[in-house]
């Protein structure tokens, strides 16, 4: 999968969230939150429901203001002018049902500070790309939910913002359109946008995100590049597959070492070993004498596993 082309270089920070705290009547939504989001990357914002993701996103969009702390955009304190630099696709999204698609898209683009002629030109390009040009004069209420999502995505990016915030962008899309959307997001990143992606869809996090922050109860509990996080959570789980007619000695190994699990595979003469050893060389040598090595695989934990593990351990601790 295409990782960020610049991920190995020293990156400029695009968005700095510094000690941001936001309290509501009955709970703390964000508790001294700190996040640095590098330029030109896709940054995942993860966390269970009610963790504070939406509050943080709303602060970035200046829909609400933090009680304390600071947000910097490219080094400058967040202010009114940044509104046109940000494109936001909220989780709770909709359109005026009685308005025509084209008219509405132009209105939303104009609100982002684009003049009508320019908006019309850019919209036409996007409508062609998404193959929805024929909807221009339809009323929104005539469109299906997935169709409306496409229009919403276009209105989010129409003003070519350098920061894009997507909250559950894939919900309501069929696999084909979800893929179209995914490619569009990657393309925007490659063109230089910084993208903040908030989602519960861990598969899309693994596919798209360069770095993530995991939020729970208003606090950041895990931050870093996806590759690094996975490496940190490495349990040294390795899967080895051996082809042999004589499986007896292998099962014996499983009985000898308690960190080795032996099980048959669907192929009759192949046997799978799962090991959690940090130095598997000795084991491999032994095995190679017994049979033919078919595969040796490093099994890193999935983001899904890491998410569950981290959130549960933090909830138990508090």
């Amino acid at each position: 999968m295409s990782r960020s082309p610049v991920s190995n270089r020293l990156m400029m920070t695009k968005i700095t969230v510094n000690e941001v705290t936001k309290k509501f009547a009955d709970h703390i939504a964000l508790d001294r939150m700190c996040i640095d989001i590098p330029e030109h990357c896709i940054y995942g914002l993860l966390g269970p429901n009610g963790a504070g993701k939406t509050t943080l996103i709303r602060i970035l969009n200046q829909i609400t203001a933090p009680d304390s702390g600071q947000v910097l955009i490219g080094g400058e304190p967040l202010c009114q002018k940044h509104i046109t630099h940000i494109g936001y696709l909220p989780e709770e999204r909709g359109l005026y049902k009685k308005m025509k698609v084209g008219e509405q898209a132009i209105y939303l683009a104009e609100l982002k500070g684009i003049n009508k002629a320019e908006a019309q030109k850019r919209l036409k390009e996007w409508f062609d790309k998404f193959e929805i040009s024929s909807w221009w004069d339809k009323k929104v209420e005539e469109l299906s939910k997935g169709m409306q999502q496409k229009v919403q995505f276009i209105t989010t990016v129409i003003h070519k913002p350098d920061i894009l915030i997507f909250d559950e962008p894939f919900s309501g899309f069929d696999p084909i359109n979800a893929n179209l959307l995914k490619e569009s997001i990657l393309e925007l990143r490659d063109k230089g946008a910084t993208i903040l992606l908030s989602t519960h869809n861990m598969a899309s996090v693994e596919e798209l995100c360069d770095s993530i922050t995991l939020i729970n109860n208003g606090k950041s509990i895990l931050q870093g590049r996806v590759v690094d996080i996975k490496r940190q959570h490495d349990t040294h789980k390795r899967e080895i597959i051996i082809r042999t007619d004589n499986s007896q000695p292998i099962y014996a190994l499983g009985d000898t070492y308690n960190n080795i699990k032996v099980e048959p595979t669907e192929v009759t003469d192949e046997i799978k070993l799962t090991t959690f050893s940090e130095s598997p060389n000795a084991l491999l040598e032994q095995l190679m004498q017994i049979g033919q090595l078919v595969s040796y695989k490093e099994v890193l934990p999935s983001m899904n596993d890491i998410f569950i593990q981290e959130v549960q351990s933090q909830n138990q601790a508090s």
């Binding site: 509501f24 009547a25 709303r58 969009n61 200046q62 829909i63 609400t64 203001a65 933090p66 009680d67 509104i83 940000i86 936001y88 696709l89 909220p90 709770e92 999204r93 909709g94 359109l95 005026y96 049902k97 009685k98 308005m99 209105y107 939303l108 104009e110 609100l111 982002k112 919403q152 209105t155 989010t156």
Partner: protein, 437 residues
């Protein structure tokens, strides 16, 4: 500011383009004109409707007292039993039968009209007035008084009412005209506030429930969106108002011309009728001059100016509150508990206007026309009667101040409310929102 302009434009255009707006714009003046036209049309039609009334007078007091005219003919059916006359009414020989029961010792005091159809008010009035006069005359004669003397003594007094100001200017006032004008203006302000305030509320609730709100407020400030909507709808209200005035004018002129050509004699009759309630006494002498006098006595400049100021400020005050309420509504059913507190002052104002109109300078009237939540309505009731300038100025200043304060509060509520879903809200919680940053 540019963004507010965009919002105002959208709010205005989407509403003005709606079919319901067009229907209301054209229906309003037609209904208004109907109030004026229908009585005249009825006057035109009723002359063709001739009624035949059979009279069975067993008291023999009212024989030959009823005179015929082009609307009704009275036929005396002396000696006939009332039951058989009733049969004749049923079979359609007569339209109705008047029966006065026999009296030996006393003077008659009751009578019965039998009719299949509804008895027209004028026939009913005519019969009872004839009977009343006859009985009164008989009573007078029994006392030895000649009824001729009594009627010659009757006098109409033309009471002119002159309002003076401290500079010694005198101006004739016509209370009944002011009465109608005051109530009419107050009703108009009341209806416009309720109707267009409701539109603001619906618009806000629609944006919230559509879930488009978050997309919009990531581009504009919630305050801009709220004020854009309030101002956009106010322009719709003004458009409607101006259209009504223009269309009513066109209809009035058109109808007058039509009547003038087809029934020249009725034009004056129609004018007299429509003015009858308000200007009866003046009309008797010199009708044209009377009308002119009334027209001149009304200071249209002040009334229209005050109407616009109080209507616009009153609307703005209530519209921002309606916007705040709209932001609290999750579905239309629970808007009731929040709209009640703001409809109560409006209802108090409109109900008390019937008292104010009789006592425009009473302390209650003055207070209600100062309190900002009732002043847009209560002041309009008083304006036609003449209100000291300082009271108008103070009232306007209070209204402006309250508008600014309430807008600030409404904006705070609105900002939080539009993003609240599926939560049962209490006033206590909403109060906390005022302190959110």
């Amino acid at each position: 500011m540019n963004k507010i302009g965009l919002i105002i434009k959208r709010e205005y255009l989407t509403r003005v383009r709606k079919r319901s707006f067009l229907i209301l714009t054209f229906l309003g003046p037609i209904l208004l004109a109907a109030i004026y036209i229908i009585p005249i049309m009825l006057a035109l039609n009723s002359s063709t409707d001739h009624l035949r009334v059979a009279v069975v007078d067993e008291s023999r007091w009212f024989e030959e007292r009823f005179t015929n005219n082009k609307e009704h003919t009275f036929v005396t059916m002396q000696g006939q039993p009332i039951d058989s006359v009733k049969e004749m009414v049923k079979s359609g020989v007569f339209d109705m039968a008047l029966y006065v029961p026999p009296t030996q010792l006393n003077i008659p005091s009751n009578a019965v009209v039998y009719s299949i159809r509804q008895v027209p008010m004028e026939v009913e009035n005519y019969i009872s007035s004839v009977m009343k006069k006859e009985i009164e005359d008989q009573k007078l004669m029994a006392q030895g008084v000649d009824p001729e003397i009594v009627s010659s003594v009757k006098t109409d007094v033309n009471l002119q009412i002159m309002r003076m100001d401290d500079k010694g200017n005198e101006k004739e006032t016509f209370t009944k005209v002011q009465f109608a004008l005051g109530i009419g203006l107050a009703m108009m302000v009341y209806m416009f506030i309720i109707f267009f305030g409701g539109q603001v509320m619906q618009g806000v609730a629609e944006e919230k429930n559509n879930r488009i709100i978050e997309v919009i407020i990531s581009s504009v400030k919630p305050f801009q969106l709220m004020m854009g909507k309030v101002i956009g709808v106010s322009l719709v209200a003004l458009t409607q108002f101006v259209m009504w005035i223009l269309l009513t004018g066109v209809l009035y002129v058109g109808f007058s011309a039509f009547i003038g050509i087809s029934h020249p004699d009725l034009l004056s009759a129609g004018t007299v009728m429509s003015q009858e309630i308000t200007t009866n006494d003046i009309m008797n002498n010199e009708s044209v001059q009377g009308i002119l006098q009334i027209v001149h006595s009304i200071n249209f400049g002040t009334i229209i100016g005050c109407f616009l100021i109080f209507f616009i400020l009153g609307y703005l005050l209530y519209a921002t509150l309606y916007a705040a309420i709209g932001s609290l509504v999750d579905n239309n059913t629970d808007s009731q508990q929040f709209t009640l507190p703001i409809t109560v002052p409006l209802i108090i104002a409109i109900i008390s206007s019937f008292y104010i109109v009789n006592n425009p300078d009473s302390s209650l009237a003055v207070w209600l026309s100062m309190i900002p939540f009732t002043s847009p309505i209560s002041m309009m009731v008083r304006i036609p009667f003449g209100v000291p300038i300082w009271q108008i100025v103070v009232s306007i200043l209070l209204l402006v101040g309250t508008f600014v304060l309430m807008t600030w509060i409404a904006a705070k509520i609105y900002r939080t409310g539009i993003l609240m879903y599926g939560k049962k809200l209490s006033y206590k919680e909403i109060f906390k929102w005022l302190r959110y940053k």
